[in-house]
Each structure stands twice: as structure tokens, then as C-alpha cells.
Amino acid sequence: MDLPKFSLDAEILSQEQMAENVYRMTVHCPQIAGVAQPGTFVQMRLLGGDVLLRRPLGIAEAEREKGTLSFLYRVLGKGTAAFSRLRPGAQVNLLGPLGHGFCMDLHRPLLVGGGMGLSPLLFYARCMEKRADVLMGGRHAGEMFWTELFKPYVSKSYLATDDGSLGSKGFAVSLLPKLLEKGEYDAVIACGPEIMMERAAEMAKAAGIPCQVSLEKRMACGLGACLSCSVDASDGTRKKVCKDGPVFWAEEVFP
């Protein structure tokens, strides 16, 4: 089932810097907040600037009662840089919620996230009400504000940084086999760099549990119309990340 979609201007309520180049923007948008599911995303448009296309951003938090949505994003290029310069009171245009989210029908999922891939997992963790654990990967301690964000919503959290400045040193996925060993989890929900998700999928498979992954592709329409974002599916068909995803069962898209 596709969610109803909206295209509307939303007022920015707050904009905080979380780490170097990483920001959290909260907007008032009750329509989208009312229906968004964890793993779905919006296409955000800058009003009146020199950025033409929308930029896809996962939903990090949706507070239905307050009608707010939050996004956690890293400044990469022109679009995200322009977003980061907006101040409360300014408006952005949102098209969403788009795509299909994570499977909500799980009892004890293990979330595996790297970098900004942790953003949609935050929304998911919150909806799971402490039933999920999270394994987080980041570059260095400066980016591990995530720990604080996840704390209220997960039962346990594990973490690794590339330089060992916080948690274990190395890739987060390296910790995965050990975590899956006890057979505690009924699925792995992964979002982050493609290589990380591929490895997480292999390990989940080895452990005999399903795995979902969230893909990232450049997008123009976000509605399944332009084919900017299509990928090969394992069954030989083509899938549109924006519409058929961004969340897929690992075996749908990884060989």
C-alpha cells in the first residue's frame, strides 16, 4: 500500500548543528507527520534559491501529536549546504512521505546503522518502543551524538568508530556475528553505506534471520516516474528505489 503523498511548504521550527557538517532540522508538517512510516523519506525543496531539484532525506523523527518532522542530514554539496543555512521561521517544501518503510512486524530487531544511515533507524527504534537494539558505526567520536539520540528508545546499543575514539575500533559490522550468535534477534534492519549493508545481509543470512536494507540513489521525481533511481533486482526485474524501496529485503536486491 502506498501512503498518501503531500507536496507542501513547511515552516522550520529549529535547526541545530549536531557535529561537524551534521544538522538536525525540525519542521512543522502535520500532514506528513501524520502518515509517515519509519524508513520512508521526503524530497525536500529549497524555495527561491539556486537549487533546482529536490533532495531526498530520510525521516528521523515524526511526532504525530505536535505535527513535526525532524531530519538529520550531513552537508555534502550545494543542496544540503543551502538547507543548513536556513533559520527557524524560513520555509522548505516537502514532498512525502515517499517509498516504503521498514517491516514493523518484528519482535526483537537489531538495527545496524552507519553514518547518516542511522537517521531513519532512529524513527524506527522509537516506534519499536525499546524492543530494538542498535549497532552504530561512525567515523569518530565527534559523530557519536547518535548514542544520546538512541538511548531513550532502544534496549541496548553497541558502537564502533573507524578510529576507535569511541566504542570498538573498526567497522560496526565486525561486531555483528557475535551479536547474532545468541539467536536473540528476529531480523537485522540495516541502513548505511552499501558495503556495510551487504555484509550485514550476509551475516544475517548466515545467522538464519531476515534482513532489510535501505538503498540510496540519486533521485529526481521521487515518485517512480523518471527512472533516475532504478536498480537491478535479484529476480532480473528493475526496481525503483524511490517507490519500490528505499527499503528492500536484502535478497530482493543483493545477489
Binding site: P4, K5, S7, R45, D50, V51, L52, L53, R54, K78, G79, N93, L95, R218, M219, A220, C221, G222, L223, G224, A225, C226, L227, S228, C229, S230, D232, R238, K243
Partner: protein, 305 residues
């Protein structure tokens, strides 16, 4: 909708408004059904269809450029059989003019496609002879007047539907191309397709796009598109469907004044999914304000006295 003001007819297709959506930018229409009343559109030019399914180009397919974008989708589509069996029946309930954009690798293939698509539910076919993003053919039909004419003839021979020829802007003399396809029997001409461009990633020293080059579209190309529409409209008798960078009703008015009988909205659909609706409403208000009885009173009325 204050019925009627925008109603028009083009190459025998009756249209509720002269605002269409451009091929490749609007899927099969259904993807935009939540944002646009599809039956109000003059037509939906659906994604480029080929004889066999195509996977399109590998790698990155779009890039943003100043006031525009590059794409190298490369005609990904499920093929005409799937279109006829699965897609077309699904589109029936929308009561829209379905204009099928087709690409062939040979002149004969255009004929085959035209015949296959000569079925109820298809309002017209649009011949894409100018996709810059595929290697096997296409581009030569779009830059050589004789080749373009032969494609039109092949299509006309095998279908009774109106045949629209879509011109490439990547030519020295757009009027020559237009006259050639008019003489070959095209019922209408649409222009422009994308300009050929590229971008290089200065971090990796590699082209941004998987296909190296891609097609440039969006507001940045509007001045070129408008100029070509003006040049062509003066020199042919068949109607012209203008497109290239149209993002507002004001842009659309410029194209009508330059001589377009209808316009198509492309890249703007990505920016604003109800762009076509906004343009329809804006045009209607403009006609009312100017006390014009029909959109036709604008067509070709630029005064260069």
C-alpha cells in the same frame, strides 16, 4: 475550471487544455495522479517505449546543473509488449490522452512500433528520433533531415493515429529538420528534446554520469527552446508542441506567443509535482484577465514589428 477557454484541438486530438507533460518526466501519468487531474492535461507523453525491454544506462543517471539537470536514463522501459498488455489497460480509468513516445533502432522498427500501438486507448504516437543517451541509432534520425523524414513515413504508413515527430535541438538548422518531417507527413512537431551536455567530478576526475554525456533540460534551456519553437512555427503549417524549461504559466505564455499550439512540462514536474496544474490555472487566469476567448488567440502572436 471555467470550461472551454483552454480547450483546444491538435492534430485531430481534442484536448481539455493545451498543457501536456513531456516524455520521461511524468512516467505513465499514474505516478502523478495524486497531484494532477490527468484528464485536464492535453495529454501525457509517456516514457520512451522500445520494441524490446531496455535496462537503460548503468551508473549515475542524473546531475544537477545551474538551473537545469543532466540525465542519461537511456530509455529504460519494459518494452512495447508489456506496455500494451499491462500499462495501457491500467491507464484507461484516467481518461487522459495517452501519447506514446517511441524509439527505434531502425526505420522499420518505428513502423513496427507504430502498428503495434495503433490500438484504442492510444491518442497519438510521438517519434523520439533524438534521444542523446543511447548508442544504437536514434541520434542520426534526429540530426539528418532525410533520416528523420523516413522515420515519419514508416510510422505514418503503419498507423492511423496522429504522428508527432520530436526534434532534437542539437542541430545547425532546426527549420530544415522541421520542414523535412512536415513534408514526410508528420501531423505535429514537438520540440525540444534535451541538449547534449556533460559534467566532470573534480574529486574523482571522472564524468559524473554513467554514460559520460547526458541530456540537459530545465529552465536553463528555455531561451534556446523558445527560439527554436519560434523559428519552426513560422516555417511549418503543422502545429508545434513547445517544451524545454517550462516551469510557470508565464513561461508557457512565451511559448504560445512564439507559435506553439500546445506546451509540455518536463523537468518542472520533478521540482513541483503539480506544476502542470499550476500552469493550467495560471493560463486560464491570464486569458480571463486579457479578455481572450481562447488560447488560440495567443498562438504566434508575438509582435516583432
Amino acid at each position: 475550471m471555467n470550461g472551454g477557454l483552454l480547450k483546444t484541438e491538435l492534430a485531430g486530438i481534442s484536448m481539455n487544455t493545451p498543457v501536456l507533460t513531456a516524455s520521461g518526466t511524468f512516467g505513465f501519468g499514474e505516478e502523478f495522479a495524486e497531484f494532477v487531474d490527468l484528464s485536464l492535461l492535453g495529454g501525457v507523453m509517456v516514457k520512451g517505449t522500445t520494441r524490446k525491454p531496455r535496462r537503460g544506462n548503468a551508473g549515475v543517471r542524473i546531475a544537477e546543473t545551474p538551473s537545469g539537470m543532466l540525465n542519461c536514463i537511456g530509455l529504460e522501459n519494459p518494452g512495447v509488449d508489456v506496455f500494451l498488455q499491462e500499462t495501457l489497460p491500467r491507464l484507461m480509468p484516467y481518461h487522459m490522452n495517452v501519447i506514446v513516445n517511441i524509439s527505434g533502432t531502425t526505420v522499420e522498427e518505428y513502423g513496427v512500433l507504430a502498428e503495434m500501438l495503433d490500438v484504442p486507448g492510444v491518442a497519438a504516437i510521438e517519434l523520439n528520433v533524438s534521444c542523446p543517451n543511447v548508442k544504437d541509432g536514434g541520434i542520426v534520425f534526429g540530426t539528418d533531415p532525410k533520416a528523420a523524414a523516413s522515420v515519419v513515413k514508416a510510422a505514418k504508413k503503419w498507423t492511423k493515429k496522429p504522428v508527432i515527430l520530436k526534434l532534437s535541438p542539437n542541430v545547425t538548422d532546426i527549420v530544415l529538420m522541421a520542414k523535412a518531417v512536415e513534408a514526410a507527413g508528420a501531423d505535429a512537431i514537438s520540440l525540444i528534446n534535451t541538449l547534449l551536455g556533460m559534467e566532470i567530478d573534480i574529486h574523482t576526475w571522472r564524468p559524473t554520469l554513467g554514460n559520460i554525456t547526458g541530456g540537459l533540460s530545465g529552465p536553463c534551456v528555455k531561451p534556446v527552446a523558445l527560439r527554436m519553437v519560434w523559428q519552426v512555427a513560422q516555417n511549418v503549417k503543422v502545429p508545434v508542441i513547445g517544451m524545454g524549461g517550462i516551469a510557470s504559466w508565464q513561461d508557457a505564455v512565451e511559448f504560445f506567443l512564439a507559435g506553439a499550439s500546445a506546451v509540455a512540462v518536463g523537468t518542472a514536474n520533478f521540482v513541483n509535482p503539480h506544476a502542470a496544474m499550476d500552469i493550467i490555472r495560471g493560463l486560464e487566469a491570464y486569458l480571463q484577465e486579457k479578455k481572450l476567448g481562447s488560447i488560440r488567440e495567443l498562438v504566434g502572436k508575438m509582435d516583432c514589428g
